[in-house]
């Protein structure tokens, strides 16, 4: 289950809750069906883009 109010992830890293804890935390998982279509540089860029586009806000 994805939490769309927190996330806007479109590439091969996507967020899922960590069910082992409280079910509401943000983790990233790798979608192998998409990942193999990307070059190494594209995978790195996708990871970075997904982190920075995940609705982050300044801390204090």
């Amino acid at each position: 289950m994805i939490w769309p109010d927190d996330l806007n992830m479109t590439s091969y890293f996507r967020a899922e809750p960590n069910r082992g804890e409280d079910g509401r935390t943000i983790d990233l998982i790798i979608d192998p069906l998409t990942a193999h279509q990307l070059s190494e540089d594209q995978q790195l860029q996708a990871l970075y883009d997904d982190v920075m586009r995940s609705g982050l806000v300044p801390f204090e």
Partner: protein
Amino acid sequence: MPVRVTLRTGPFASPFRKHLASLMESPFGDSLVLCSGYIWETDSASSGYKVLDDLLAHIVRGCASGTLTTVAGKLGYGDYVRYYRNFVRRIRGAGVRVQPLIAPKRNWHAKIAIRMSQTSPRAAIVGSSNLT
């Protein structure tokens, strides 16, 4: 993309921490994105272990001419907001430019480190170990 999996075999040596330190100082970048659910940086007056005791020197050398972007989550638990504040202040005190971020619902949990060359990601570690 090649993948390396590291596992701890004892309480003292952390292969993940060793590779994280290497990534922080790797010469093909000047900046770092560092994400963790929990960060263990207790108050300076506390004599106990703090994660920056292990990592600060690597961060300083690796980001001297760049920026450290931090993402922390799980801030609704106990003292972790203060620990994140301590973490940012101590790194800034060492002369590193820090951009501290949080997830809007304070629920970030992914452990990710990305070595950046200016705005381009060059290498990354996706792990399961918090900065604790």
